[in-house]
């Protein structure tokens, strides 16, 4: 029996396990949307701007580990996805983007709403496809999902010509993947495993780096066991917070630019780094010339292009983290590193003394760390936290200490403001049983504020907390630290976010003092559906510690100590 390209699209997508997708229709995808009505299994979330759809699909993918799907029309609909595609690409998020395209005979003719979407998305997708015939649909969709989720995951775009949506085909059956040049590695080479094992056995001051790849490959438990068995502390990247429980004595928390001092000091003093599924982002390393100078580096990474890109690996184990760890495990005996760990404990004590939460005399003023910490306490570290980008993002990373993987969703590599609200909506669709918080700044929130309507339309139960300091806070902080406090284009004259919430029918609270935090958070938790909390926080506070761009990792700008603060 023949079916239209549009019908084959939806059947193929359902076959891949998709039940929810995000998007906005338009001329070049009307046939696809028409056919979608025949597949009530699919829950379609109508967004207000395609960027929101991209970020929701990404949030969905990161929260579930499954492939997210976003769909938009040709031309401006497609280009509105671009930032979201880039975000997914930078953070290895499996998302399939479907864009409408003009009829195949009009390709390249500047037809209405025509844009070269495969060209535009080429450098920011893992792969992309152009469908010009209904015969290609089943094969393409299957390969797109396979590429998106396998190996190092990433976004895949399918540009789907309108005539191919309408025309009929007999090729409707599930095809086999037929990709001559795509074979993601799984196992690392045996002789390299042995070399890595030698380094691990000889190490006196080892540190494990748990990257996003640990979460993606589902290796969190294995990594924790390995760390416990070998008595090795674990530092996490921004994207992998929760890879091992934050309360675990071996957890060093987040590494890098805004990582805690004791974590970065441990890295700098280590004699072995076992980097698992991470890529040594410049926010992680600081000055490369002085980076972990005494440490041998074992780099376990599925993407060979990451090997020796930033940090030269003494041993590169190209493969899937979970598989490589399983292969490596039998080669490594149990070990103790008591001296090393007690040294780290000393550093940790010193860091804790400088912790703002331990310091008295905040006079009821609202500090973001306090808010995040209070949310952490009442949610017992088990909520799914989604952030936007900026100061609040770093504070959330520092003070919301998740106990399990898939608990912290943020735009890391792209650092894209506006991500928080839509990603939280997507995450809630993936994990309806989890408590989901969107921690956003006043700047980023306004970039995708329109998606409040989507949250209401879907009655999606997320708690939105705006850290409202009337500044583009992180830029302000940089201007304070590095540009002599010459504030350029960072002050925001904001609307009354409470009234915006009310206009949407969203329950809301304004919080001005620290004494009100607890009742506001409880109000949000007890009220079903979306809730918006508007926290008017200290305006000119800085995120500490901070490694200035290009500085040595151990040369942090520290939090002022209690004495210094006086």
């Amino acid at each position: 029996m023949k079916k239209t390209g549009a019908e084959v699209l939806w059947e193929s997508i359902i076959r891949e396990g998709v039940d929810v997708l995000f998007g906005l229709p338009g001329g070049a995808v009307i046939p696809a949307f028409d056919a979608m009505l025949n597949y009530p299994k699919l829950h379609f979330v109508l967004v207000r701007h395609e960027q929101g759809a991209a970020m929701m699909a990404d949030g969905y993918a990161r929260a579930s580990g499954k492939v997210g799907v976003a769909i938009a029309t040709s031309g401006p609909g497609a280009t509105n996805l671009v930032t979201g595609i880039h975000i997914a690409s930078m953070d290895s998020s499996p998302v399939v983007f479907i864009t409408g395209q003009v009829a195949s005979n009009l390709l390249g003719s500047d037809a209405f709403q025509e844009v070269d979407m495969t060209g535009i998305s080429l450098p920011i997708t893992k792969h992309n496809f152009l469908i010009t015939s209904p015969d290609e649909v089943a094969q393409t969709v299957h390969e797109a999902f396979y590429i998106a989720r396998s190996g190092r995951p990433g976004p895949v775009l399918i540009d789907f010509c309108k005539d191919a949506q309408i025309a009929k085909t007999e090729k409707i059956d599930p095809p086999e993947v037929r990709l001559l040049g795509y074979h993601p590695p799984l196992h690392a080479a045996a002789e390299k495993l042995e070399r890595a094992a030698e380094l691990i056995r000889a190490a006196k001051r080892p540190v494990i780096f748990a990257g996003h790849g640990v979460e993606i490959s589902g290796a969190a438990k294995e990594v924790q066991k390995f760390a416990e068995r070998t008595n090795t502390p674990v530092a996490m990247t921004l994207l992998s917070l929760g890879a091992i429980p934050s309360s675990h004595p071996l957890s060093l928390g987040m590494m890098g630019m805004h990582g805690e001092a004791f974590c970065n000091l441990a890295i700098q003093q280590s004699d072995l780094i076992i980097a698992l599924g991470m890529r040594f982002d410049d926010r992680v390393t600081g000055n490369l010339k002085t980076y972990a100078p005494m440490a041998a580096k074992i780099h376990v990474e599925i993407d060979p292009t990451e090997i020796n890109k930033i940090v030269i690996a003494d041993v590169a184990l190209v493969g899937d983290v979970k598989t490589v760890m399983a292969d490596l495990d039998p080669l490594i005996p149990n070990a103790r590193h008591d001296d090393w760990l007690s040294q780290i404990t000393e550093w940790r004590k010193e860091t804790d003394q400088r912790d703002i939460l331990g310091q008295p005399g905040t006079n009821g003023k609202l500090h973001v760390p306090q808010i995040i910490s209070d949310i952490w306490k009442v949610t017992k570290g088990e909520a799914l936290m989604v952030t936007d980008v900026g100061q609040h993002q770093m504070w959330t990373a520092q003070y919301y200490q998740p106990e399990k993987p898939y608990s912290f969703i943020t735009s890391g590599g792209a650092g894209s403001m506006g991500f928080g609200l839509p990603a939280a909506i997507g995450a809630k669709f993936a994990k309806p049983d989890r408590e989901v918080w969107a921690i956003v700044g006043d700047g980023g929130f306004q970039m995708t504020q329109a998606e409040l309507s989507t949250a209401v339309q879907e009655n999606i139960d997320i708690k939105i907390a705006i850290m409202n300091n009337h500044f583009l806070g992180m830029v302000r902080q940089w201007q304070e630290f590095f540009f002599e406090k010459r504030y350029s284009a960072v002050h925001l004259k904001n609307p009354d976010f409470g009234k915006i919430a009310e206009a949407h029918g969203i329950p809301t609270r304004k919080v001005m003092t620290s004494g009100e935090i607890h009742s506001a958070v409880e109000f949000a938790r007890k009220t079903p559906g979306p809730v918006l909390l508007d926290f008017h926080v200290e305006q000119e506070e800085a995120v500490y510690p901070m490694v200035p761009t290009g500085a040595d990792l151990h040369q942090m700008i520290r939090r002022p100590s209690p004495e210094e603060k006086e």
Partner: protein
């Protein structure tokens, strides 16, 4: 230094763009590029010559392998390989000069493939140096036009330049 990369790629639209895009993003200039079908009509072979440091070219090579449509890439620089370019050179030639130019061409095992009243077209295959040398010798006569096909390369001996076969696990880095 100059690097020669061989890439086996899927023979389908857009693949050349994907390859070229990697070089463009890194601000690399492609010195020479030759693409054509192999004995398998689904697979094309590219020979890419670039100027760059070994570290940079190693990274490009890894990124090329990562492209979904690229089946394999090998840097054959410094390996025993046959490298050939083909050029057509249209040179000014009055009837009185024809013999001299033809003699020059013969030294280079080049062929005269077109004769007009006041010009000749010479076809030459060989290494870049060889083509460059003939070019220099013909320059005084007046070169009207020149076209090169781009360098193609093949490893000597039994090595094929394909290190992993489709369906088999990728080679370790």
């Amino acid at each position: 230094m100059q690097h020669t990369l061989i890439a086996l790629v899927e023979n389908r639209p857009g693949v050349l763009n994907r390859v070229a895009s990697l070089f463009r993003r890194r601000n690399f200039n492609i010195e020479s590029l030759a693409v054509g079908r192999t004995d398998n009509p689904e697979i094309s072979r590219m020979t890419i010559v670039i100027e760059g440091e070994p570290v940079e070219t190693a990274r490009i090579e890894a990124n090329l392998v990562k492209l979904v449509n690229i089946i394999d890439v090998q840097d054959v620089t410094g390996q025993p390989a046959i490298a050939r370019d083909l050029a057509l050179i249209k040179v000014k030639a009055q009837p009185s000069q024809r013999a001299e130019i033809t003699a020059l061409a013969e030294i280079f095992r080049a062929r005269v493939v077109d004769v007009a009243p006041d010009s000749l077209i010479i076809e030459i295959t060989g290494t870049e140096d060889k083509i460059e040398s003939l070019n220099e010798l013909l320059r005084p006569f007046g070169i009207l036009e020149m076209v090169r096909a781009g360098q193609v390369a093949m490893l000597r001996g039994g090595a094929t330049g394909v290190r992993h076969t489709p369906g088999v696990e990728a080679r370790p880095f």
